[in-house]
Amino acid sequence: MSSASTIEAPSPAPLLELRGISKEFPGVKALDDVSFAVFPGEVHMLLGENGAGKSSLMKVLCGAYRADAGEFYYKGDKVAIASTADAQKLGIAVIFQEFSLVPHLDIAQNIFLGREPKGRIPGTIDRRKILADAKRVLDTIGFDIDPSTTVDKLGVAQQQMVEIAKAISQNARILVMDEPTAALSDRETDLLFALIARLKADGVSIVYISHRMAEVFALGDRITVLRDGRRIDGVRPADVTPDQLVRMMVGRTVDMSYPRNFADKPGEVLLSVKGLTSPTGISDIDIEVRRGEIVGLCGLVGSGRSEVARAIFGADPVTSGEIVFDGKTISGEPDVAARRGIALIPESRKSEGLALLRSVGDNLVVSALRKLFPSGLFDQRSAQRTSDSLIRQLRIATPSARQAVGLLSGGNQQKVVIGKWLAAGAKLFIFDEPTRGIDIGAKSEIFALIDRLVAEGAAALMISSEQVEICHVCDRAYVMREGRIAGHLARAELTEENIVRLGMHHA
């Protein structure tokens, strides 16, 4: 890979330069010695996988995070960005995916929130001036709308325009956009691109985070690729191909190998999903999972992976399609799916998977109450026996079954969730980010446990943003993109590069 020195600056001096930025969170190095320069009037694309450090870099840039190490230079002068106010003073504005607008105020009030023109009576607002000022700002970005329109009446694209108008009204010289086209239609995207061209012509610099290859090449003047919190390379679009970019993004360092005993021959079909469509934005999903298999479900965050899991489990409505589980068609409610033997182990196990204040024992038997006590009467001793045997079987590290689950480590909490479903007789385990927030040692234990489950005739569907993990433990994987299955990768084709290529917006 070429080094940064091979890139020539489009203009002699960068507007803003970050040097050697590091940011650490407990257990994660979000940014590691990242340097990054923005030149006047350029569109600078920021590229990287989920968790590569794009968002962290963006937050450091706008003062929401304070860098642990590193220096900032504005037009060559050393400056500090320790707060959002500092960033604002330097003319840095962020257009967040979650808009910072107030729904029941009008456009003008939103643009000038906190900077309202004063009226004659102290404390009041000069209504005529605020509308006129807003109109002027909206005109400069070519957005033709009445500034007294309430923001909650606007569509996503229009709200984005108001956000941009707000930034421009603060004399922003550097606009940071986080996947701005994610929620836009093709037509709205064209309008946004036209606006970006216009801002560029006015000398505004744009830092643009994107997952769509087409955009990267259509808009970008320069591209910075991040991986594992490090800056991998800076290139010009003309000098690279999409495939080269993908190769820069993947190749995360593997800290250890995960245990997996692949079966010679997969078992019978346990789950078969055909044409599944849900109003949550997924459509035409075909998935098959056999006994003895761990099947990966990958794609970018927001590509619809969790929605597929929720639809199969019955937690989201299904508008069309068929789900056949263990030979029978299922539809409807999560409790039906659970009784048939489908377990959904959600990403947010603290809020959705466990009662944190209750004991390990209580949590282990809670889903199995109907099975363990068909009469409806709770038998303390039999519950104890069940939970004790699960604690032994899953090697849950807890002083006793009476320990509150919230006091266990992340890995052991995850084991309790798995144990809970095991007790309920689950045959298919759907994992959503099973290793999120779990340390490396515990990860391999979790995978060993999943491996044992499927070896004993169960099956697993595993959603993960950790492509290394998918490649190591899965028999095969589906890759999603924008609510659809973009492709299927057999064991032999299962590489990070292939996953990223299918998951990104280019063929």
Partner: protein, 316 residues
């Protein structure tokens, strides 16, 4: 670029029906079945009696717009009403009595705001706590007895008129005008919309949501103090249970009036209509001699019916 601006303009008239339909129906109902309901004397009585609730429901609207709640309002009103009675009795001055009530109310409101904004206690719990404190203090300062023999200057507030309009109604109108100006024409009012709608936006704008939140609760307590004067004047005494359950009526009026409990959307005129609807309901049920226990239940039914109507209309 031209963006098709096909958005419907905010039209407050669109929202009137939910509460206005209910109000018209109630007036028609009691006009038909309650003898004397439609007399000028009775209707004026309904309005005068609604003034105390108006003074609680208007600040309650602001508090609910911040996704908050103030359960302590009724109990704080009881306490401020007693303060007005005791201080005016001791000093023979209505204004000193009012000052005492307003000070105590403002103090309670500030404490509420501080508990919610700085300590981060959920409003329901924080104001339930101060409700208990205000109730206990009321019993202590009054020794459980009514405070009687207060000066005429206090009682006259409730019964006198200004240019033919009862003074309590003048006070309520002035209060409404002040709240209207505050919410829709000042910077502070703009920030109240943001407190419930998107507090992050305030932070990005360099404003302190916490200070604004404390101010909103402080306004609520202060208004409970002003309403305390009216309550003492109305009863011609201070009574240790005077404001019992008024917070329920105030929250009901705000809900009936179409203020949303989420995302910072409030409507002051709707609140006033909601207050009148509650007043008409209680007055009408009184006239047909239903016990007050039924009245409380019927206010509950009113809330559910009004919100149900709004729900249907917003779906349609």
């Amino acid at each position: 670029m031209r963006e098709a601006a096909v958005v419907s303009q905010p039209n407050p008239l669109q929202r009137i029906p939910g509460v206005a339909i209910v109000l018209v129906l109630l007036i028609a109902l009691f006009g038909a079945i309650a003898p004397g309901f439609l007399s000028v004397a009775n209707l004026s009585n309904v309005l005068v009696q609604s003034t105390i609730l108006t003074m609680l429901a208007l600040p309650m609207t602001l508090i609910i717009m911040t996704e908050g709640l103030d359960l302590s309002m009724g109990a704080v009103l009881t306490l401020t009403s007693l303060c007005v009675a005791i201080v005016s009795l001791a000093t023979k001055s209505m204004l000193l009595g009012l000052a005492a009530g307003v000070l105590v109310g403002a103090a309670f409101g500030t404490v509420n705001g501080w508990l919610v904004a700085i300590l981060g206690i959920p409003p329901f719990v924080a104001t339930l706590g101060t409700l208990g404190m205000a109730q206990g203090l009321s019993l202590i300062v009054s020794d459980g007895q009514s405070v009687v023999g207060i000066p005429h200057s206090v009682r006259d507030i409730y019964s006198s008129t200004l240019l033919g309009v009862p003074v309590p109604i003048v006070m309520a109108l002035v209060t409404y005008a002040a709240f209207h100006a505050l919410l829709y024409h000042t910077r502070f009012g703009t920030y109240i919309f943001a407190l419930g709608g998107n507090p992050e936006a305030l932070r990005y704008a360099g404003l302190s949501p916490n200070r604004l939140l404390i101010a909103v609760y402080a306004i609520g307590g202060t208004m409970a103090g002003v309403a305390g004067l009216l309550m003492t004047a109305r009863m011609n005494s201070g009574h240790p249970t005077a404001g019992l359950g008024l917070e329920f009526d105030a929250i009901a009026a705000v809900a009936v009036g179409g203020t949303s409990f989420e995302r910072g959307n409030g409507w002051l005129l709707g609140t006033v209509l909601g207050v009148i609807a509650v007043g008409v309901l209680r007055n009408g049920l009184n006239l047909i001699s239903l016990p007050s226990s039924v009245q409380v239940a019927s206010v509950g039914v009113l809330v559910i019916v009004a919100l149900f109507l709004d729900g249907i209309r917003s779906r349609a």
